[in-house]
């Protein structure tokens, strides 16, 4: 029977080309970052004032110094502060994600839940999480609870909406195909509906993670005794501009790292993104 069919061309020659494209993308991206550093350095040399704009070397040496030396004197090292911020983010993010997945899943499968929760989400979604900081401080004090609750309240609606939209977007034909191939409804739920929704859910997680970093830094600037946001605020108060840049660079690197992890996860579950 195979003689009636055109033999498919081999698919293997695509692989090295993809690898070359990847290397090219990384090189171009690195060049872009390098360009920013060069512009920064030139501007700093022209301005010639550390408080307005420190040079790249000043920022780097300040960063290295504060990695081991606590700041302020009775505070923590940069490492510990970064760890504190990361801990808050992760707790709030994981709790918010879990709740969002459950809520989104419930909305997608139970009509009453959807109709009940949808208006609440629509009304609260435009509110920036930062608007809740004073309220959360009144409720929970300036301890960890308020900050984790802040992250949680920012992550929850994003993950809920992403999960709901992703489950709604699963093509009915895919579910039908699975059922008519003999899979049980439960097998179809897990291996087709949830599996098919996964990439879009992870994209939602990436957006939520970005938002979490924005709000945690804001919260640490208002009420905290540790964390990268706290360091930036303190450095600002004492006109230690190089340290402000260190803090900003730390956030950038941490944010990039976590987004990178989620992107790896996305690549692992979505073959079309490879």
């Amino acid at each position: 029977m195979s003689d009636v069919l055109v033999p498919p061309r081999p698919l293997t020659d695509a692989a090295p080309r993809a690898a070359r494209r990847f290397t090219g993308r990384v090189l171009i991206g690195a060049a872009g970052l390098l360009l920013v550093l060069v512009v920064w350095e030139v501007a700093a040399l022209v301005i010639n004032d550390t408080v307005t704009l420190p040079t790249v070397q000043e920022t780097v040496s300040e960063t290295i110094a504060k990695l081991s030396e606590p700041y302020p004197a009775q505070g923590h090292t940069l490492w510990v502060n970064a760890l504190i911020s990361t801990g808050r983010i992760l707790s709030g993010f994981l709790l918010g994600t879990l709740a969002g997945l459950l809520l989104g899943g419930a909305m997608a499968s139970v009509r009453v839940v959807r109709e009940l929760v949808d208006p609440i989400l629509q009304v609260t979604r435009p509110l920036p999480p930062i608007a809740f900081i004073p309220l959360l401080i009144v409720w929970f004090g300036i301890g960890e609870t308020a900050k984790i609750a802040l992250i949680f309240s920012g992550v929850l609606p994003i993950v809920t909406i992403a999960t709901l939209a992703a489950l709604d977007a699963v093509p009915a034909e895919l579910v039908h195909a699975s059922r008519s191939l003999g899979a049980s409804p439960l097998h179809t739920l897990v291996h087709v509906r949830l599996r098919s929704a996964l990439p879009a859910v992870i994209t939602g997680l990436r957006i939520a993670m970005g938002g979490a970093w924005t709000s945690i830094i804001a919260a640490e600037m208002i009420a905290a005794t540790g964390g990268v946001g706290f360091v930036i605020l303190q450095a600002g108060n004492y006109l230690q501009t190089p340290l402000i840049f260190s803090g900003i660079a730390f956030i950038a690197v941490l944010g990039f790292l976590f987004d990178g992890l989620l992107r790896l996860l996305l690549r692992a579950v979505d073959p079309t993104s490879r």
């Binding site: 029977m1 039908h176 195909a177 291996h191 599996r195 073959p271």
Partner: protein, 266 residues
């Protein structure tokens, strides 16, 4: 079982597919409901290749979805292999207009999805899957993902995915409608040789008269909405058929006869 059919449920030889007085209407926003099918009757013998022909919107897909168990009739009776259809099942393989492979699975994993989901995966079945991929010409694309395949390759993969289940009935809803002429002709040839070999009962929806004439033993013509069985015609062309038959006089005559019925006023 309703009193509508006199034949006992076990009488599978009489007809592989039996549709009796099936009606179906949909609720729409503007009108309270719109009739899609009205009193459709159809009997398909085991091993028969039946083409469902009719104008757009006459309910062909609706009927096929009912046979597949994705949707249910408002009234009437649908039996496949002597059993009342209560939902989708591996006894009825379905091929959609677009192939609908699972995009996160490779060709190989897609083909094995059915046996794996049912816990029936054996080494013998793996061998059979490898043979099927060979048959549909996808051995080299075994580890490729659906988005890396061409449209025709996806259709062939979807074929293999269904055939591994050995369905007694194949339900096909305009499966080649979206393909270019060459790929389409290739797949029609493949389907003909497959049917010649396996003698699976096939219900094939199309709105192409030539396709219906080439493939079908009989052609059921549905009339426009709401769909009813207008006429059932014997194609009457000898088997095995090949693609070259489309140029013979008998073929052209058969085609014209079917077109006349299709275009006649209801």
């Amino acid at each position: 079982m309703s009193t509508l059919t006199a034949a006992p449920l076990v009488d599978t030889e009489a007809s592989a597919v039996r549709v009796r007085d099936v009606s179906k209407s949909f609720r729409t926003r503007r009108r309270s409901h719109r009739a899609a099918l009205e009193g459709v009757d159809l009997d398909i013998a085991p091993g028969e290749f039946l083409c469902l022909l009719g104008p757009s919107g006459c309910g062909k897909s609706t009927l096929l979805n009912i046979l597949a168990g994705f949707d249910f009739p408002d009234s009437g009776e649908v039996l496949v292999g002597g059993h009342r259809v209560t939902g989708p099942g591996p006894d009825r393989g379905v091929l959609f207009q677009t192939p609908r492979l699972f995009p996160w699975l490779t060709t190989w994993q897609n083909v094995l999805y059915g046996p794996r989901a049912r816990g029936l995966l054996t080494p013998a079945l793996r061998d059979e899957a490898a043979g099927l991929l060979e048959t549909v010409g996808l051995s080299d694309a075994r580890d490729a993902y659906p988005h890396e395949l061409s449209g025709g390759m996806r259709h062939r993969a979807a074929f293999a995915r269904v055939l591994i289940n050995h369905p007694g009935v194949l339900l096909m809803d305009e499966p080649f409608g979206a393909l270019d002429a060459i790929t389409r002709a290739n797949l029609q040839r493949f389907l003909l040789s497959l049917w010649q070999e396996r003698r699976t009962t096939i219900v094939f929806v199309t709105h192409d008269v030539e396709e219906a004439t080439l493939l079908g033993d009989r052609v059921a013509v549905l009339s426009g909405s709401p769909g009813r069985t207008k006429s059932i015609l014997d194609v009457g062309l000898p088997r095995p058929r090949t693609y070259d038959d489309t140029e013979t006089l008998e073929f052209v005559t058969a085609k014209r006869r079917i077109r006349e019925v299709l275009e006649a006023a209801p």
